[in-house]
């Protein structure tokens, strides 16, 4: 369903961020993405929702290919994705609730259906009581969970999460991870970049490791270790 073919990404001022990455991810898979700081994890994910386009090679997600996608295709794709950004990207002048509702409004969800879905998403991440707080009135971990709620609220077919537990304690991390697992169980593919080796060790999902822009490890290629495709 997702396919990277010899993907190479070079930024104008900082140089090569990804090089020679080829892999496939199946429908409804759960994938960890790991690697040291600056390895290219976020870049890998940004290519998936077309915030960046590859310098060479092709990224294909569902029917949309980086080689041919027009604006309209990208819009349609993004409406069916859920994205947790590493830097949260909450709108500072809107409450937690409004931030989550925003993702629904933008894609034209009927106004009547929004409040219930927003409340449910906030409850799922353990922020039922914080809906009216502005981002600056929330702790770092609470902000991160608002970002997660926003990514979940539109029932995406692929959930892309970039370091979604970096600001969370172990218990909250487990809570969020259980949530991601449940979402995955209902058929949504989850691709999660993380530095939490403990999480990776304890959960037998497919793991990709990047280093200096290269895919140095894919548990799917190592029989017996992880689930694979």
């Amino acid at each position: 369903m997702i396919r990277y073919t010899s993907v190479h990404k070079e930024y104008p001022r900082t140089g090569v961020a990804l090089t020679g990455v080829s892999l496939a991810i199946g429908k409804g898979e759960f994938v960890f993405l790991t690697g040291p700081s600056g390895a290219g994890k976020s870049t890998f994910l940004k290519l998936l929702f077309f915030e960046e386009r590859p310098t060479r090679g092709e990224v294909k997600i569902g029917p949309v290919s980086s080689a041919t996608a027009r604006t309209r295709d990208v819009v349609d794709l993004r409406r069916r994705l859920g994205i947790v950004f590493q830097d949260f990207r909450l709108l500072e002048d809107r409450t937690a609730e409004q931030n989550v509702a925003f993702a629904l409004e933008v894609i034209g969800t009927p106004q009547g259906a929004i409040p219930a879905r927003v409340a449910r998403a906030l409850a799922q991440v353990g922020l039922a009581g914080k809906g009216h707080a502005l981002p600056r009135e929330l702790s770092g971990g609470e902000q991160q969970r608002v970002a997660i709620a926003r990514a979940l609220v539109n029932d995406p077919f692929v959930l892309i999460a970039d370091e979604p537990t970096g600001n969370l304690d172990d218990r909250a991390t487990r809570g969020i991870f259980d949530l991601l697992r449940a979402i995955n169980a209902s058929g949504t593919a989850v691709i999660m970049a993380t530095h939490n080796m403990e999480l990776i060790r304890r959960n037998p999902y497919r793991t990709l490791e990047l280093n200096r822009g290269q895919l140095v490890f894919d548990s799917a290629d190592t029989p017996g270790d992880g689930e694979g495709t």
Partner: protein, 282 residues
């Protein structure tokens, strides 16, 4: 659409400074533009009134009988350029001179003024060359002693009118350009101020049209507000000037409505151009 409207209204609440600034600059620009418009409108009507008084006077030889003058008038009224022609008897000429030149009234006791035929020309037939041609034809009448029409004055009038029109248009265009630039700038700033929001909208799947619509509505609303404000200020200005200095006329209703419409258009087009360009950068 409902969401876009709400967003557009929110924009006013979320960035009141930018909004007030935009509306103010639109209002100031249109006000300045409108001032020149008012000057033009009033100058035009004043010129028209003055122009109507452009007249040609044929002085008749002493002793010309009234019925000869009447016959001449019938001939003159056939001239295509002539609107009215009137016989002024020597007595009326004297009476008029007395009231017009009051200071010297004693002088006229003794003198005798010649009779004359006074012509007014039709509108559009008052250009200097036309007036001169009419005068030349009048001189061919046997009992016409002299023809006066203030050639220089007519020419001056025309020159003034031309200059006023050109200057008004030039200054008006300049101000309109300034208005467009300021509107473009404020919208550019609004876009920049909301760059994070816009890029996030894109990332969660908003269409370009969806992103653009609130800006267009916002621009339209600001234009209408700015135009209305400018119109109000202009109205106050004309009232004050009329009360204190000289009687000036305001724009007639269709022109006033046109002004607000111009504001709306300015806001909308300014937004459309600027948003399109800016969105590509965010």
């Amino acid at each position: 659409m409902r969401l876009a409207l709400r967003e557009a209204l929110l924009a006013f609440r979320r960035a009141p400074l930018l909004s007030v600034l935009s509306v103010t600059t639109i209002a100031v620009s249109l006000f300045a533009f409108g001032l020149f418009g008012l000057v033009a409108v009033n100058l035009r009507s004043a010129l028209q009134r003055v122009e109507e008084r452009v007249e040609v006077r044929a002085f008749l030889a002493e002793g010309t009988p009234a019925d000869a003058a009447a016959a001449a008038i019938a001939d003159i009224l056939v001239f295509p350029e002539v609107a009215t022609a009137e016989y002024v008897t020597p007595e009326r000429a004297l009476a008029r001179a007395r009231t017009e030149l009051g200071e010297f009234e004693d002088v006229f006791e003794a003198g005798v003024l010649p009779g004359s035929i006074e012509l007014r020309l039709r509108e559009g037939q008052r250009a200097p060359a036309t007036v001169a041609a009419v005068a030349r034809r009048l001189r061919t009448f046997p009992f016409v002693d002299d023809v006066r029409y203030g050639a220089e004055w007519v020419e001056k009038l025309y020159r003034l009118r031309t200059i006023a029109t050109v200057a008004g248009l030039a200054l008006g265009a300049a101000f309109a350009a300034v208005a467009v630039i300021i509107i473009g700038t404020t919208i550019r700033m609004t876009v920049l101020a909301r760059a994070r929001e816009i890029s996030l909208m894109r990332l969660v799947g908003a269409t370009d049209g969806f992103i653009r619509l609130p800006f267009l509505l916002e621009g339209l609303a600001k234009g209408v507000l700015g135009g209305g404000l400018a119109l109000g200020l202009l109205y106050i200005a004309t009232r004050v000037i009329s009360a204190q200095l000289i009687e000036v006329t305001f724009f007639d209703p269709p022109l006033a409505a046109g002004g607000v419409l111009a504001g709306a258009l300015l806001g909308f087009v300014g937004s459309a151009v600027s948003v399109g360009r800016q969105l590509r950068r965010v």
